[in-house]
Amino acid sequence: MRRSNRRGIPHGFLMSLPMYLFTLFFVLAPLCYMVILSFLTRAEVWGVVHEVTLDNYRNILTPVYLKTFYESLKLAVICVVLIILTGYPFGYFMAKLSSTWKRRVSMLLMIPFWTSALIRMYGWIIIFRSNGILDKLLMGLHITKEPLKLLYTYPAVVVGMVYALVPFMIFAVYSSAEKMDWSLVEAARDLGASPAKAFFTVTLRLTMPGLLSGVVLTFIPSMGLFFIADILGGNKVVLVGSLIQEQLMKARNWPFAAALSVVLMILTSLIIWLYRRVTKVRDLEGFY
């Protein structure tokens, strides 16, 4: 190891050079520009004026925009909790399947990715709309008497979000669970731990990296996937994502959109950092 390190440094650096450069030019530089933009003033008709101001940030403190942040966070938390509840067992069970079935199930999970996400949401409209499939089913089973107005409600948005994002959680948990040393669980059981205790003390701990990356991969998009709120929520749920889009595309207020973006990014980074501190997981697990 000592030798390889000494010889590895220049080569390792050379190999990661493209990524360093790419990140520098096409991630860091645009980000810096966005931060600068957030301190500028919008022009009367089009574009920005180079006048430094804090107004954009002050504007965010307006109650209605603060409330938008709060609502977005609330929706994201609800979605992520539901995603964990549905996706974690799936990934965990999947890791216990035979290798043939693992392959088949992961293929089945991948295939929907190859159709347009927008169109998949339209499939949900067919299910949810009044006198749609769900209504007919429930009425056929005499559970409900009249059409429920399910479409364009908060739950419809949550279902859409969970549906769109749960595969990320499944893959993340699965990759952790698959690599897990099951003998540790057995050892805990042999030492007299109940299945529940063995799960919480051993399995959950060992799959935590996967769970964390699942949370990171799903929490942030659930604040930004405004088209789901648009298609399934009838635009009634205001997300920071849709607010930024509206500022950018309709109100033409780029600096305010940039300020909103900066705040959102700080917020999400903070949440990731907090989560890492709490769970003491340092590294993000790949979701393969």
Binding site: V45, R103, N235, E246, M249, A251
Partner: protein, 350 residues
């Protein structure tokens, strides 16, 4: 699993390379026209007809919002695109920004076909830059079978009988604007105090709103998801085509009005082809095909005889709409107020 992935990827790579090769060939030789507008603004037959007749290949690219278009045009400094069709207010800005070239009217032999009602408006007073292509008035449409009250104006949308039953388009200038209209003000009110007041009134509409959507709003009316809709003209046309017993209301408080028009960017690479295309779509029979397809009010008077009977009805500008008010660009401050009250309104919906 990994082996399968690898195989799948390899196969995929082969397919992609083949597709790429198949696509890369014959493009450069023929003249092209870079058309930039919303999706679905022309029927396929019209586009193919032009390509066949002139031997010019059309490159049809889409934007979602007018602002998106302007951003692209700004960065291209008026280049890249040959013909843009967009809304009136954004064209005004584009002209101010120097991104539009004057039309060479000697190349537009069919220009006289344009109905003068749609010419000489605020965005292009001398008609030097633009050719109108469709006009619209947002209107109320409702299903009389599902609504107990008679709807005659915007004010009726606030009626408690319509609880959770109204579908709205998502353009805040229009929706905030109808409140301003109810208050006897203009769509283009610049006084922020008045706009604030309109915002308060708008909040009272929240319980009645079933959904807000810019996309396919008419579908919700057709499927019975909502009983009343406040829709764009093309959506009104589509709604009526699918469900003829729907009732259209020209709100008594006054109408909004908008024109879409085509223009040629200042540095258009194929300006000549753009002129040819503009002239082509001004031909009466071609224009009739176009307007039946898009469902906006027909701006071509020579095309009217070629329209079907129903289309003549639905695509003509009614008497009362002549007084419709344009929705124009307003001050940045007023715009910010609009944006805020709109967000407040949406937050109150849930």
């Amino acid at each position: 699993m990994r082996r399968i992935m690898k195989k799948a990827a390899l196969l995929l790579a082969v397919v992609m390379v083949l597709m790429a090769l198949a696509g890369c060939g014959d493009k450069k030789n023929t003249e092209t026209l870079n058309l930039f507008t919303w999706d679905g603004m022309f029927p396929q037959e019209v586009l193919s007809g032009f390509e066949k007749e002139y031997g010019i290949q059309i490159n049809y690219s889409n934007f979602d919002y007018d602002e998106d278009m302007l951003a692209k045009l700004e960065t291209a400094k008026g280049g890249d695109y040959d013909l843009v069709i967009a809304d009136d207010y954004i064209i005004e800005i584009a002209i101010e920004e120097g991104l539009v070239q004057k039309l060479d009217k000697s190349k537009l032999t069919n220009l006289a076909n344009v109905d003068p009602v749609f010419q000489g408006h605020f965005y292009d007073k001398t008609d030097a830059y633009t050719v109108p292509y469709g006009a619209g008035i947002p209107l109320i449409v409702y299903d009389p079978a599902a609504v107990d009250i008679e709807i005659t104006g915007y004010e009726d949308l606030w009626n408690p009988a319509l609880k959770d039953n109204v579908a709205l388009i998502g353009n805040y200038r229009v929706i905030d604007g109808i409140v301003l209209k109810m208050m006897g003000k203009s769509f283009n009110e610049n006084d922020t105090a008045v706009i604030e007041e309109a915002g308060k009134k708008l909040l009272e509409l929240a319980p009645n709103v079933r959904l807000i959507s810019d996309n396919n709003t008419q579908d919700y009316l057709i499927s019975g998801e909502a009983a009343v809709g406040f829709l764009y003209t093309s959506q009104v046309t589509m709604a009526l085509a699918a469900k003829s017993d729907l009732k259209v209301v020209y709100p008594k408080e006054g109408l909004g009005f908008g024109i879409m028009a085509g223009f040629i960017p200042s540095q258009a690479p194929n300006g000549d082809a753009a002129h040819k295309f503009l002239d082509y779509i001004l031909r009466p029979e071609i224009a009739a095909q176009c307007f039946e397809h898009i469902g906006y009010v027909c701006t071509n008077q020579a095309a009217v005889p070629y329209l079907s009977e129903e289309a003549k009805q639905s695509l003509s500008l009614p008497e009362e709409a002549q007084s419709g008010e344009f929705i124009m660009d307003i001050s940045a401050e007023a715009n910010e107020t609009h944006e805020r009250i709109w967000t407040e309104f949406k937050a109150a919906l849930n």
